[in-house]
Symmetry: C2
């Protein structure tokens, strides 16, 4: 049923979950029948009762979270080596995508990326040495997200790697992300062959200083504006970044030309970016991280500020539950696989790139980018429906990010974990797919739904906080 | 009624116009009622009888025209001064948009552009001198289209102006178009102030040689590929060229950097292109012209190979009627006007840019670019409907140019003048709007339908050819 039809009809509602919803509908003149119903998530009725009692409090907190997301203004302001700017970065730290994980539980591509990063840093000379070192306990592994950072796929980020510095000018917070390496055999997909390390060195010694100098001359770049334009140009800013990359390229190219050490270097840098339509992904991710970090730690809010995968676990954080992670097993995407690969080869969902979905982009904006649904056999109307479904689990609509084919409706913004467990509608994510073994790389690109488990746990934890407060109040 | 619904139902047809259509439907098991009906164009029933008798012949010729359009492969291969490459170009010739016109009948913006071009060529020192010269009879005015060329808006092109050289590699023919000047006070909108002439000189002395050198190094640029990608990125390649401009820019920037006389010149050229999202329009037009010229002069074909306006008349040419022009009064577009202007200020429709519609782009592809319909108050579904309507008057669907929101359906290709007069459905065009007085420039952008008169005349002329042949055969 289309939304326009829905609103043209007198409401007849079968209410499931929180009973007061039915009361609101009856008050508005609709018909509602409440039924006994077990929500899709395995959640006790007590939790729903607790949350229902706090409905207005939660709603107010979620409005605040939404406003902070909408008011955020992420700009690319600088570039630097991770060790010089990322809080808590140190020589023996490797940041990684997703929730916390030990070397023992890491999936193949993340292990591959760890090996590559240790070779790149000169901390090991061979892959075998690197494995031994990684397992020795002398290397620390911590989530990018715990260091104001995000990393695509394995997300492995080490001290020497240059990062984009993205500042949320409204709230003053800063987020970081590495430069995108391109497709094929690349570190983020778990490859660590000599060509991978050599490319990383070129990115450190040529690409990074050239971009940094250009940025110093052309000034900060408005990422929110580029993202908004790119949505009008067929990107959803996760799996498709061709327009974003083009607009970023156009913004910075003249300054690159004027400041590069030589015309050859300028041309090499422009060719590298031109050869990689995903170059803007890392900026889209850092912009999303800078946006969502401004909505962290709002007491009572059930809005997700992180969705991230380490290739083993899918983890989320809610605004109202501080720095606590809620996890469940990461699932394997449905994908278009490159020649010679099948779903058997695919690693479960991996990467911090779901920060784009958390920020109303990616799968949430997929109606703007039907090409992505098409390559897994879907149609443009499927793409529209995926986006329409996401309005069911979000608290508002974006005021900057719009979808042309939905008459420029704002993208669904502010994922509400309570709505997810109530409706059973899960966040729709589109993503790259890594081979499950270290050293291979990307094998496809596809789509999937987030698992219910992290949201169910998060909602329970939020309810527990209310119970706890309630008890404290009584004491 | 949606197309999918249409095809799911048993056909019940009220046939209007050519009676044999009803017979075909009856033969296919449908129900058809023929009614007396006066087609929207004021065309005698004899003409329809003649065309009906030649239906198969025309259909075969139109298939050939369609195939030539679809098989065309336009590449940007070179740049040169008009006088050195445009056939028939000479010192005292000014080419202009649309069908032939005299100085006396020219609209304001075309007169303004003529004045500007004479100043630019040094043939006059003041606007007054230029007007006197233009009226003296010593300057020849001829349509761009008669010189394998196209020009946006006034389309005035003089001997010294640099042009893009676009070669149709399948058929070997070549088309030409000037470089786009940007928006605001520019020659093509009829402005001729010193800043306009100065910009044209910079384009001749800096932009052109820099682009030409870069092109020599990077090699030919595949315009069909860029256009196909740009349609996936929100352009319709007439009034919106942001993606096309971005992709062209990305293609040529590294070579510009490597070959420019200095980094400053390279940066200036990149900034100029980056500052003008319409830069690609002139390439879209030249690609369309190179495509359609390959479909010219196919005996018996009712497919339009030119739609063009000189600001006074709207003129078309059909494949089957050689170089003959069929004209009617140009209409005034519905537009979003810049602050301070109204429809009263608008000149009637002007420019060769409707070659994009003739090539299945522009208004015919507007479903890909709902932003354009939005700024005249329409919705994304209006945009889809405009494109769907165009399938009624075209002989096929494009195999390269696709519309994402229509599930990547090929754009409506090969405008059939007979279908236009039969159905009354007119070509949908989106366009820039010039002030009606010389020297002012652009006042808005909008949409309109082509007038019926040129198509009615063209169809009558095609029918007359059959009559003539018939008589000759009898003799």
């Amino acid at each position: 049923m289309s939304v326009s039809n829905l609103f043209n009809q007198k409401l007849k509602v079968v209410n499931i979950g929180i009973g007061s919803f039915a009361e609101n509908i009856r008050r508005a003149g609709g018909t509602a029948v409440s039924v006994e119903w077990q929500p899709p998530a395995n959640i006790s009725p007590n939790i729903f009762r607790t949350l229902n009692a706090k409905k207005e409090t939660i709603s107010k907190a979620n409005s605040e979270a939404l406003q902070r997301i909408l008011n955020s203004k992420p700009y690319l302001t600088n570039m630097a080596r991770a060790i010089d700017v990322v809080p808590g970065m140190r020589k023996n730290l490797l940041m990684h995508a997703g929730p916390p994980i030990t070397w023992e539980r890491m999936c193949g591509p993340m292990r591959g990326a760890v090996i590559g990063a240790l070779l790149y840093e000169g901390l090991a000379q061979t892959p075998e040495e690197a494995e031994t070192l990684a397992a020795s306990g002398s290397i620390d592994f911590e989530p990018c997200h715990e260091h104001s950072s995000v990393g695509p796929m394995a997300g492995v980020t080490s001290a020497s790697m240059p990062v984009f510095v993205v500042k949320n000018e409204t709230f003053g917070n800063v987020a970081f992300c590495t430069q995108n390496e391109g497709l094929g055999k690349v570190l983020r997909y778990g490859a660590f062959s000599p060509e991978v390390i050599e490319r990383l060195r070129w990115m450190e010694n040529i690409l990074y200083p050239t971009l940094k100098k250009a940025l110093d001359v052309c000034g900060k770049i408005d990422l929110k504006n580029i993202i908004a334009q790119a949505l009008h140009m067929g990107d959803e800013l996760h799996n498709r970044n061709r327009a974003g990359t083009s607009l970023f390229y156009r913004s910075i190219a003249p300054a690159i030309v004027e400041t590069a050490n030589s015309p050859k270097i300028a041309a090499d840098v422009l060719r590298f970016i031109n050869g990689n339509d995903h170059f803007f992904l890392n900026l889209s991710m850092a912009a999303s991280k800078a946006t969502l970090d401004a909505a962290r730690s709002i007491e009572n809010s059930s809005v997700a500020v992180v969705m991230a995968r380490n290739g083993t676990d899918f983890g989320i954080q809610l605004s109202g539950t501080g720095n606590e992670w809620f996890t469940g097993p990461a699932l394997v995407p449905d994908a278009l696989f490159f020649a010679g690969f099948t779903k058997e080869d695919a690693n479960p969902d991996i990467g911090d790139s779901a920060i784009t979905e958390t920020n109303a982009l990616g799968g949430f904006a997929i109606a703007a980018s039907p090409a992505i649904v098409q390559f897994v056999g879907g149609s443009a109307s499927d793409a529209r429906q995926y986006t329409l479904d996401m309005y069911e689990i979000t608290v508002g609509e974006n005021t900057s990010y719009q979808i042309p084919s939905l008459d420029f409706r704002g993208t669904p913004t502010g994922i509400d974990a309570i709505l997810i467990v109530e409706t059973g509608t899960l966040p729709f994510i589109d993503t790259g797919v890594a081979h499950k073994n270290p050293g291979v790389g990307q094998v496809g690109a596809g789509v999937l739904k987030a698992p219910m488990e992290p949201f169910a746990k998060a909602v329970a934890a939020l309810a527990a906080r209310f119970e706890h407060k309630h008890i404290r109040t009584e004491e």
